[in-house]
Structures are given as structure tokens and as C-alpha cells.
Symmetry: C2
């Protein structure tokens, strides 16, 4: 497996993504954008890209904050997220720039793309899909989803939402609103609640952040990752 | 694969189950009770037992109504179900008799047992577990679950609940009450909602019953069956 940093831009923001691929794959491979937790492009997101590469995909862990910024505390993090919430056009522009950067890489199959996202990154997946990106699949993990806006493009991707049943960080009403939208639009969606899991269940570092309601759950991490693979195997057409 | 009918009893009720196994398996195999939809032990339940046998399990499709009765209409079905709801001791006795009949078969691994159930059969799984049966796993499909009673044994099985997101037949409040119980007891549970799926989504015959809110959904049938297999692979200890 190989990895490298990739610079890409949206307006005046320079972003530094992390590409991972298996150099032994022959021909086109599905391309997957990995949207990190709100903290930014850290080890967790890089490792997810590497794991996807080992599965035969070409994965780009995206930088949403620009300049590869990573936040360690909520005080600095919240304003960065709020900027995106307040300016969805900017947010979507950055998400789209990640997808475009991925598609510009050699051997990425433009007709078989997906996005996965963790926490805030799950919301990034939805913003990308709502802006019209023709993703085949979209998987989110402990994501704080937010409802659509007027004029959004209809989502066509197959969707998997993996949620900790005891996640007190995310807004459950918003989650229900999103699944209601998906049902209205006859999207192929799945939502799984994992008993015993709270926010950030995929992240082994969650336990050391000392954030209330954040914790790693190994069994849930493994189950949700397996379910994502199952989704991809359904969603990616064979050529 | 081989199959045979098995007679077993609870009090004065004679029940006629359907056993399926793979005669090429060597040594002990996990044993799985299949609780049918409320209609009774019909082709749907028999086929599920046969599919489990092909996976290497020994499966008994249970007869809950006695004498192998199968109902085709709701008018005759409802009183039979109501009898069980009104007398949980009798209900559990019949469910337990099925498990006992399975365990008495050659080559069933008594330490690796599970129950699966469809519709009313999902509720049967829970009654069996609540009566203290040491099941390793329990999977339900479009099940109308009902909350516990005082004095129930704590459930220890790993649980998977597969639910059609648009199922208007089941009681969603009761489902939520059940998952709250499971969380309270720190049970390892998963609940998946499948977009676009309604009641009876595993049953190809659902479409011909002309029952409002019943319909087969092939993709959901396949996904939920795969998830059940994943659960079993986690739950059954290797010797």
C-alpha cells in the first residue's frame, strides 16, 4: 500500500488531503472520500483511508478545515465547524474539492465513488451528496446529521447510517428528520443503532479526549466497518 | 441436507416441528430454533431452517400453535395469538419445548444455541430468552416485540432486531421499550431500520396475502439474513 499527501483548493483555501492506494491493484478502482471527525485530518482518518486501500479502494482522507489543521479541544473546534454550518456553499465547495481531487488521481473509477464520514464528517458526506455529487454509496459513523435545505439535489446514493444507541452528543430529532427525507425520496437507506455504543465509537483515541459522552467501542467499530464493506459490495457495479 | 418432522409436547399440546441439518457436518453443530410468522409453520419457516442447515447449523422450525396448524387469514389467526399473549406461561412453555426438542437431537451443540423469529416469531424468541434459556444469540425480523413482565430472567444473548423502517404493523413504542430494557441490562443489542421495507419483508408470499402493509423486499431480506450470519459468527464460540 502507498500513501501521499495531496494539495487541493477551494477558493482561497488550500487543503491537504491524504491519499492511500494499493499499488498492486490492476485497472480502475472505486474511489472513496473519507471525511474525518470534526477534529480534522488526524491519524483516525488516515488509518481509515489506509484500511480502505487494503480493501482495494483508492481513498482520500479529506481536509475540511484547510492547511491540514487539526484541533484538539472543543473551544477551537466549534468556531471552525460553525463556519461550515453557517455557509453551506463554502462547506460543500470544500467537500466537492476533495472529491474532485480524488477523481483526478490515476486509476480512480469515476463511476464507482463513495464517501464515508465520522461525526461531523458524516454531515460532510450528506452535504456532498445533496450538492449533486453522483456517489454510489455513503456511510456515516456516529454522525451528527443535519436536515436538508430548500433546493438541495435529491440524494441517489445507497446510504448506511451507523449510530451509537446511547450517543447523547448527536441530535436525534435531526437524525429522524434526515431519515424521513430519505424515505420521502425513496432513497435506499439503512440506519443501525448499536446498543452500548456512544459518540465516537470508532475512535480508539476517544477515551483519552476526556470529553463526556465520547468512547471507543471495539465491537461496534468492527461491526459497522463490516456493514460498510457489505454496502460497497452491493453499490459498486462491476465492469 | 436432510429434513424430518419431529413431534414434541407441552402439557396437552402436541407440536410438529421441522428439523433440517447437513449430514456432511462432522461433530457438534450450533442449534437454532426458527419461530415462524404468526401464520404458523409454513414454507417460509421450513425454508429458513433449510437455509440454516446449509450454513452448517442444525435448525428446528417450531410449531407454536400445535398440531402443525397453519392459518391463512387474520380472523382465525388472531385468537391463537391472543391465547399466547394472555398466557405467557403457556407461550413460553411451547417455545421451550421447541428448544428442548432441538437439544435432544444428535450433534446439537448445547453450548451454542440461538433463536430466530419472524413477526410474532420474534416475540417468541424474546419470551424464550426471558424465561431463562441460555441462548447465545437471537435475531428477529419484522417482529412485533412486547415488553418484559415483572420477574423475567435477564437476557444474556447477543441480539439483532431487523426492522422495516416503514413497518406500520408493529408497535414502535413497544419496540423502543424493549431496546430500553436491553440497554438497562447492558445486553449486546443491535437494531437496524431498513428504508423502504414494510412488514413481512422476508416473505416472498407476503405480496399475495392481500394484507395492507405487508410486502416482500428482496434486498432487505438478503441484507438482514447476512447480518444474522455475522451475528452467529460472533456469538458461537469455537471449541
Amino acid at each position: 500500500m502507498k500513501t501521499k499527501k495531496i494539495e487541493y483548493h477551494h477558493n482561497s483555501v488550500k487543503m491537504v488531503g491524504y491519499l492511500a492506494w494499493d499499488e498492486n491493484q490492476i485497472g480502475l478502482c472505486p474511489g472513496i472520500v473519507v471525511f474525518p471527525e470534526a477534529f480534522g485530518l488526524n491519524d483516525h482518518a488516515r488509518q481509515r483511508a489506509e484500511r480502505l486501500a487494503k480493501l482495494g479502494y483508492i481513498a482520500l482522507a479529506a481536509d475540511i478545515h484547510g492547511d491540514g489543521q487539526v484541533f484538539d479541544d472543543m473551544a477551537s473546534l466549534v468556531p471552525a465547524i460553525q463556519t461550515m454550518y453557517n455557509d453551506r456553499k463554502e462547506w460543500r465547495g470544500r467537500a466537492h474539492a476533495a472529491l474532485t481531487a480524488l477523481l483526478s488521481q490515476a486509476n480512480v473509477d469515476k463511476h464507482n465513488t463513495a464517501a464515508i464520514g465520522f461525526c461531523f464528517g458524516g454531515a460532510c458526506c450528506f452535504e456532498l451528496a445533496r450538492s449533486g455529487a453522483p456517489l454510489a454509496a455513503l456511510a456515516t459513523f456516529h454522525a451528527g446529521l443535519i436536515p436538508e435545505q430548500d433546493g438541495d439535489a435529491r440524494i441517489t446514493a445507497k446510504i448506511l447510517i451507523c449510530n451509537g444507541a446511547d450517543d447523547g452528543v448527536i441530535n436525534r430529532d435531526a437524525l429522524n428528520a434526515v431519515t424521513a427525507e430519505l424515505s420521502r425520496d425513496k432513497v435506499d437507506w439503512q440506519l443501525i443503532h448499536y446498543g452500548g455504543a456512544v459518540h465516537s465509537f470508532t475512535d480508539p483515541d476517544a477515551d483519552t479526549r476526556n470529553l463526556p459522552g465520547f468512547a471507543y467501542c471495539e465491537r461496534t467499530e468492527q461491526r459497522s466497518w463490516a456493514l460498510m464493506q457489505q454496502l460497497f459490495s452491493e453499490a459498486f457495479a462491476r465492469h
